[in-house]
Assembly symmetry: C2
Homo-oligomer: 470 residues x 2
């Protein structure tokens, strides 16, 4: 990996290596001592806290309430829903000892919480008046993974998982789609600034235990796909397995219809891979733990005071601002570090600038510098932040459009997926086509209408967004 | 346990049973399917989210940054600090299998994160410029427990754990005390409204691996103590075990001095046991997920609209307000439920009230009711909330004072601890006295100055706060 003072491996040369170097160089995360686990360092966790806040607000606006279910699940629970156990059994971590003795029944460390949540839904739901029941949980989950990569695929990750129960199938569908659109798509597009394809997963790709999976898919800087958030309709699969019934207005007992949905720290991996450049991370302002860093160029009483005054003014206008007055470290070294961390705006202030009542404003987006009068600084910074947010999305959208090719058949699909996505009529692929694509490491990311909108349930004439993926 | 419609077991009759009934009746938590685990239901989790927010803000004001360390810790890590391993080994849950195969080295599910955090501190700390390093983590931890009780002692609980490294012992002491006072004591007193004793733990009671433990101790409604938050000075114990050294300004390598500190979902148990009464929970307004519930007495178009208008007005003034218009359920049943959940203010509005442009305001603190003109409602509600916050603290303080007895020797200590705390000169107890107390199930909760303030390090002439405890 690049040494600290040196430059990063260029993205175009070796994308996976560049990714690793950015994660390390921006001090986002480290590998944990146990296979595939991850330490999220303060800078990475600061991004996660902001992202969590954005998602949590939207989840609550959708009427769900937060709760917390146990980390440990009896091994027998997993077996209660057939597809679910087949999907998750090979991935579990199992606790066999507690308090120095073997346990009577081994417990699994949750890979996801459908089973334990539904065990309680069966107790809590009696009447139609208990519906809809809309629950969300923020937690850690673990899965045994053979090949791990920080944020993208780790043995333990942080996420939210929503679990809901509804009286009718139509309500469950509406809610699953509402979460996909108003919570995930809105956060990913308007906060993370990642252009997003939305649609239905094929049967092959849907969640183990679901009847329908809705997904958000982004294109990374190497043309590969990353699944960014999924919302599942579980039908009555878990309701039957866990006996979750309600009495309707006539007193007839009926099984509920359910959804579950999740988004994880994987999103941070997507953020890095979409917006990062050869100089490191570029953070959208809404997710930058510090949106502005005010750098004191050389130690000097006046400069320090001026930096503090500038920081105060910007903070008063609601921005997250950090002062860097660590002048024992070289200016160049510090500038490179902030660049690597992706702080959207750097303000450089030295004695010469100050004598002219000016400061230098550097935009992380395009690394442009401009000398700005102190009185105009706040509005210049605000303008640069807004422009950054728009430009990051524009650039990512242009990249995705250039690397998404409408094609007519399976052969052309394979060709287009060498460098990005293929958009192909689903009728040209089908389940047999999916098998053929899988042999080349390619999957259908989602099915959508030709205009890119979400299909209705049971709708035909869809196009498939196809590509390699993480 | 009390049936849903019936009343709770009186506190005075059977305190533990009353506690269980309140936790269940207020829908705070349920027992999980695996031994000693807990489901925190939305009402309980709503309290936790508010408490977390208060603690988190103060932790950040103290300069610490949030991060996340892995759930799984190699078994060998625990053995690196001698006292620590002796304290925690018997309490661990151990994962022996992953991905369907036995692991090469078993991993423990974290009971606390000192070992894994310090493994990374050793990598991150090189120079005096890296100090102080101030890290906090919000997470779940697990401990094998023989006898569990929801919130108070559970196999898995949620908490924050802070970990810091400093250049000098004095800085570490200052920081440990700062966290105790500005984060824990301030939150517990001013937000939770629990009167708190603060002081040093005796050697017998300090954290496994610490040189000094500072603690906040509250008195519950049955006269027993609950430890509410602790802040530990670790000296150089972990620094030596994990080789955490920094180069000082002269380039000499030195071991850091450290602190760790934590507060958990146990605080919610304390909140219930201090403020609850025979009708259920009573929440301090700062921690009530809904501070006001506007109850529609009988279904009626005008009443519904009036309730919505009242709720809107209160929300605009910054309050958390819920409307209860579930008139299919009897009014009495609903009123009992909100009372059990401890919502500080209930507004009851029916057609007759409305005809007179009035509503009934009920204070949960003393269950007093008063009829108030609609135009005065907002100021009445604000006044009631302020009075509730003050009255809960006052009542708890009076109770604690009545049940804390200054005594002169060990015999009197034993007597006083039958109904509450004894305050006794530490010189009258000493380590031999502690052993004698332990046989009666009594412990020294903390050592403090005679005026109740925190002692300085090495200070003599302290008094011991002594009692039974959870």
């Amino acid at each position: 990996m690049a040494n600290d003072a040196g430059s990063l491996t260029p993205r175009a040369e070796d994308f996976p290596r560049w990714y690793q170097e950015v994660v390390a160089g921006a001090e986002m995360a480290d590998n944990g001592p146990v296979r595939g686990t991850m330490v999220i360092r303060p800078w990475g966790f600061g991004v996660w806290e902001l992202l969590q806040g954005e998602l949590d607000r939207r989840i609550k606006e959708a009427g769900a309430e937060n709760a917390y279910f146990p980390l440990f699940i009896p091994e027998s629970f997993l077996g209660l829903e057939k597809e679910h156990v087949e999907g998750f059994s090979p991935e579990t971590w199992v606790v066999t000892h507690g308090g120095g003795k073997p346990l009577e029944e081994p417990v699994i460390v949750r890979p996801t919480s459908e089973t334990v949540v539904n065990h309680f839904f069966a107790k809590w739901i009696q009447s139609h008046r208990d519906l809809p029941l809309l629950i969300n949980q923020w937690s850690n989950v673990v899965r045994w993974e053979m090949r791990t990569r920080l944020f993208l695929r780790t043995s333990e990750f942080l996420w939210q998982e929503g679990h809901t129960a509804h009286a009718t199938e139509a309500e469950a569908t509406d809610y699953a789609v509402r979460i996909l659109r108003d919570t995930y798509l809105d956060t990913i597009e308007s906060v993370m600034r990642i252009p997003t394809f939305v649609g239905l997963k094929t049967d092959r790709e849907r969640f183990a235990g679901a009847v329908r999976t809705w997904a958000c898919e982004g294109m990374m800087g190497d043309g590969k796909a990353l699944q960014l958030g999924t919302s599942h309709e579980l039908g009555q699969n878990f309701a039957r397995a866990f006996d979750i019934q309600y009495a309707d207005e006539e007193g007839t007992r009926r099984y509920v219809y359910q959804t579950s949905w999740g988004a994880s720290t994987r999103l941070i991996g997507g953020l890095i891979m979409v917006h990062g450049d050869d100089f490191g991370l570029r953070l959208p302002p809404a997710l930058a733990p510090s949106q502005v860093v005010v750098m004191v160029v050389r130690a000097d009483e006046h400069t320090g005071a001026a930096a503090a005054a500038i920081a105060d003014e910007l903070r008063r206008s609601g921005l997250r601002v950090r002062i860097d007055d660590q002048t024992a470290t070289s200016f160049g070294r510090r500038a490179i570090d902030w660049e690597r961390k992706g702080v959207p705006v750097r303000i450089e202030i030295g004695p010469r600038d100050l004598a002219e009542e000016k400061a230098v404003v550097v935009s992380r987006f395009d690394r442009s510098k401009r000398s700005v009068g102190l009185s105009a600084l706040a509005s210049e910074v605000r303008g640069t932040l807004e422009a950054t947010s728009a430009a990051l999305h524009r650039e990512a959208l242009d990249f995705r459009d250039e690397h998404s090719t409408p094609v007519a058949n399976l052969a052309e699909t394979l060709e287009a997926c060498a460098s990005g996505f293929a958009i192909v009529p689903w009728s040209e692929v089908g389940e047999a086509g999916e098998d053929a694509l899988a042999e080349a490491g390619i999957t259908v990311r989602c099915l959508q209408r030709a205009d890119g909108s979400l299909p209705g349930v049971g709708e035909d004439a869809l196009v498939a967004v196809v590509g390699k993926s993480y």
